[in-house]
C-alpha cells in the first residue's frame, strides 16, 4: 500500500512538473511543427536530437534509409521530407534530378569551421552553389597488425604482394575497384587514369586484372564493419583495407593495430545534409542545418559512430587521442590525398559517354571474385 501511494505521489508530481514546464515555455521558442528527415542510421540519436527539439520547438521525425538508392527514392517520392543526409553516390543524383536546393552559407554561423575541402566536394558543390552541409566523413585506410606484420606499409602494393598471401582482407564492395584504379593511376601513369571513379574500358580492364591477381592472396572479403574486426581478431588476416572505425574498435579490444594512408592516397566517403527543393517546414530545416554545423553536435555524432566530423573545431570535444585517430584535425595534406566516393557514370564529363557505369563495375566485381 505504501508503495502504491508513492507511485501516485510520483505521478502527480510528474504531472505537475509537465504542466509547469508547459506554461513556462521560454520566449525563444519561435518555431514549431514537425521536421521530417531522411537519414542514415546513427545520425538522429536522442543525445543530439532532443536538445535541438528543446532549443527550437521543432519535432524531429526521422526515416532511416538502408542504401543510397533508398534515400534517393524517398526524396523522389516527395513525401514531405525536409532534409536528407546524403552520401557522395546519392548527392550527385539528387542535384541532377532537382530534388534539393542550394544552401546559403551566410545563414550558417559555423560554416567557416567546416573542412574547406569537404565544403567544396565535387558531388555537392555544383556551378558555384553549395548543395550540401558537410557532416561526417571517413577514409579507407591501410590497416595492419603491428605484432604480426612487419612488411612495408607506405604503399598499397602491400595488398598486391604475393608475399602476403592469405593475410589480406578487403571490403566486399564493387567501389573497391576505385582503390585499384587509384593505385594504378600512380604506378602505371601510361593508363592515364585521372579520376579513379571515371574509368574507360581499358582502364577498368587494367584495374580488374590487378584485382584478379590479388584474388588468390585474399583471406576473406568483409561485408560489415564488425566482420572486418572479427577477421582481424580471429580470422587470420593481418593487413587490409579498413575504416578507422575498425582501428578504433580493435585498439579498444587490446589489439596492436596501426593505420596509414599510403603514398598513393586513399578513397573515402563524405556525408552531407541537403535541403529539399520544397521543404514542408523550411524554418525548422534551416534551424537544423545551423545546429548540425556545430562542433559539439558533430563531435557527438562522430563519437557515437566512430566517424570523422567535418567541423574542424570538434577536436576539443573529441579529446586528443580520438581526434588524432579519426584525423579530425583538418590536416590539409591528409585530406588532399583522399578521393571521395561517387557513383561511376558513363558520362565522365567529356560528353563522350565512354566511362564504365556502376552496373559494369558490379559485373566486373563478380567476375574478379570468380
Amino acid at each position: 500500500m505504501k508503495k502504491r501511494i508513492a507511485v501516485i505521489a510520483l505521478a502527480t508530481a510528474a504531472l505537475l512538473a509537465t504542466s509547469v514546464a508547459a506554461t513556462a515555455k521560454p520566449a525563444s521558442k519561435k518555431l514549431s511543427g514537425t521536421l521530417k528527415v531522411v537519414a542514415w542510421e546513427g545520425y538522429t540519436e536522442n543525445q543530439w536530437v532532443k536538445p535541438f527539439e528543446k532549443q527550437t520547438g521543432c519535432t524531429v521525425q526521422h526515416q532511416y534509409a538502408g542504401s543510397s538508392d533508398e534515400m534517393y527514392n524517398l526524396m523522389k517520392k516527395n513525401a514531405g521530407y525536409d532534409l536528407v543526409s546524403a552520401s557522395g553516390d546519392a548527392s550527385n543524383r539528387l542535384i541532377a534530378s532537382g530534388l534539393v536546393q542550394p544552401i546559403d552559407p551566410s545563414t550558417i554561423p559555423n560554416w567557416k569551421q567546416l573542412t574547406p575541402q569537404l565544403v567544396k566536394g565535387p558531388n555537392h558543390y555544383v556551378d558555384g552553389k553549395y548543395y550540401g552541409l558537410p557532416w561526417q566523413w571517413g577514409p579507407n585506410v591501410l590497416m595492419w597488425n603491428t605484432a604480426k606484420y612487419s612488411g612495408a606499409t607506405n604503399s598499397w602494393s602491400a595488398l598486391y604482394d604475393p608475399k602476403n598471401k592469405g593475410k589480406i582482407t578487403i571490403p566486399n564492395n564493387p567501389i573497391q575497384i576505385a582503390d585499384a584504379a587509384l593505385y594504378l593511376s600512380k604506378t602505371k601513369p601510361a593508363l592515364g587514369i585521372k579520376d579513379p571513379y571515371e574509368l574507360n574500358s581499358a582502364q577498368l580492364h587494367a584495374a580488374v586484372l590487378l584485382l584478379k591477381q590479388q584474388r588468390p592472396l585474399i583471406k576473406a572479403y568483409w561485408g560489415f564493419a564488425t566482420d572486418e574486426v572479427k577477421i582481424f581478431q580471429t580470422g587470420g588476416a593481418t593487413l587490409g583495407a579498413a575504416w578507422p572505425l575498425a582501428v578504433a574498435q580493435l585498439t579498444r579490444a587490446g589489439m596492436k593495430v596501426s593505420q596509414t594512408i599510403p603514398k598513393e592516397g586513399a578513397t573515402g566517403w563524405s556525408d552531407v545534409w541537403m535541403l529539399a527543393k520544397h521543404p514542408k517546414n523550411q524554418p525548422c530545416a534551416e534551424a537544423w542545418l545551423k545546429y548540425a554545423a556545430g562542433a559539439k553536435v558533430q563531435a557527438e555524432v562522430a563519437k557515437f559512430n566512430t566517424y570523422t566530423p567535418a567541423n574542424l573545431q570538434s577536436c576539443k570535444a573529441l579529446g586528443a587521442t580520438l581526434c588524432k585517430q579519426l584525423h579530425a584535425d583538418g590536416d590539409t595534406a591528409y585530406l588532399n590525398r583522399i578521393k571521395f566516393w561517387k557513383t561511376p557514370l558513363s558520362d565522365c564529363g567529356n560528353g563522350k559517354n565512354e566511362c564504365a557505369p556502376y552496373s559494369e563495375w558490379v559485373q566486373a566485381w563478380t567476375s574478379i571474385k570468380g
Binding site: N73, I231, G235, Y358, K369
Partner: protein, 296 residues
C-alpha cells in the same frame, strides 16, 4: 418445427444449402494471399528481368530486352561457374544432411523412449529460434583460424586452416539446414507401421533386408521432402557465403544480392534469380519421377 432453431444451426444449414459459398469463404483469404502477394511478386520479378537498369535512378527503364539473360547465359563464364558451384554446395549439403539425419530420426522413432524423444526434438528445433546470423557467427567461432577446431587440431600438430574455405561453408550449410532434414524424415519414419517390420521379420527377412525393402521405401518421401528444403535453401542463401565463406566463394544468392542491394541493377538480379527457380522445377520433376509424391 417445434424447437426454435439456434442461430448457429441456421448458419450451418445455410452453408449446407450453399456449398459454393462455403468454399469461397474457406479459400478467400489464402487465395487472396497467394495471388496478391505470392504470384504478384513472382510476376513482377519476371517482368523486371526483361527491363534494363537505369544509371541514375533506382527505377528500371521499361525497354523490353533479353540482355540480362544473355549476360549470364552466353556472357562472362563466371556466372555459369557460380551456378555450378551453387548446385554443388546444395547437393553436398543435402547428402551430408541425409547421412546425419537418417540415423538420428531412426533412433528417435524406433529406439528412444518418449521422454528422450521429446527432449531431442526440442533440442533439434532450438537453433531455429535464434537468428541465422548469430548461428553463423557461432560456427565461425569454431572454424576460424583462431577458433576451437583450429586450436584443437594444432595440439595434434596439424595446422589446417578451415576459416573462409569451401569446407567451412559446407559445414555451415549442413549445420544450419539440418533440422529441415531431420523433421520430415522423422515424420516419415514415424508413419512406418511397426506391424510391417514385424511381419517382415516373421517371414524370415534379415534386418538389412527389412531396412532395404520395407523401411527405406516408406521413408523415402520424407527424405525427398527434406532434400527439397536443404537444396532450395542453399540455392538462395547469400548470408552463409558472406559470413562463413568471407565471400570468397560466390553463390547465386551472393550475385543476386549484390545486384539488387548494392548495384541498383534489379533487372539483372531478377533474371539471375530465375536460375534457382528453373533448377528447383527440374528437381521437383525428378523427385516426382522417383515416386516421392505418390503417397501425398
Amino acid at each position: 418445427m417445434t424447437k426454435a432453431e439456434s442461430p448457429l444451426t441456421r448458419l450451418s444449414a445455410f452453408f449446407f444449402r450453399h456449398r459454393g459459398l462455403k468454399l469461397v469463404l474457406l479459400l478467400a483469404v489464402p487465395l487472396a494471399w497467394l495471388i496478391g502477394v505470392y504470384l504478384a511478386s513472382l510476376g513482377s520479378l519476371l517482368v523486371q528481368s526483361f527491363w534494363r537498369a537505369d544509371e541514375l535512378s533506382p527505377n528500371p527503364v521499361h525497354v523490353w530486352n533479353l540482355d540480362n539473360y544473355r549476360e549470364f547465359l552466353t556472357g562472362d563464364p563466371v556466372y555459369r561457374s557460380i551456378v555450378a558451384r551453387t548446385i554443388g554446395f546444395a547437393a553436398i549439403t543435402t547428402l551430408v544432411d541425409i547421412v546425419l539425419a537418417f540415423p538420428l530420426a531412426y533412433y528417435l522413432t524406433r529406439v528412444a523412449r518418449p521422454r528422450t524423444r521429446r527432449l531431442m526434438l526440442v533440442l533439434i528445433t532450438v537453433p531455429l529460434f535464434s537468428s541465422l546470423i548469430v548461428r553463423l557467427y557461432s560456427v565461425r567461432l569454431i572454424l576460424d583460424d583462431g577458433g576451437i577446431l583450429h586450436s584443437l587440431l594444432a595440439t595434434f600438430g596439424l595446422n589446417v586452416q578451415i576459416g573462409f574455405t569451401e569446407l567451412a561453408m559446407a559445414i555451415a550449410f549442413a549445420y544450419v539446414w539440418l533440422p529441415f532434414m531431420i523433421l520430415p524424415v522423422y515424420a516419415a519414419l514415424e508413419r512406418v507401421p511397426g506391424s510391417l517390420i514385424e511381419a517382415s521379420r516373421d517371414l524370415g527377412a534379415k534386418g538389412s533386408t527389412t531396412f532395404r525393402t520395407v523401411v527405406l521405401p516408406l521413408a523415402f518421401p520424407g527424405v525427398v521432402a527434406g532434400s527439397i528444403f536443404t537444396f532450395s535453401l542453399t540455392l538462395g542463401d547469400f548470408i552463409t557465403p558472406a559470413i562463413v565463406g568471407g565471400d570468397n566463394h560466390q553463390l547465386i544468392g551472393s550475385v543476386v544480392y549484390s545486384n539488387f542491394g548494392i548495384a541498383n541493377n534489379a533487372p539483372f538480379a531478377a533474371a539471375f534469380a530465375t536460375v534457382p527457380l528453373v533448377i528447383m522445377a527440374v528437381y521437383l520433376l525428378a523427385a516426382r519421377r522417383l515416386g516421392a509424391f505418390d503417397h501425398l
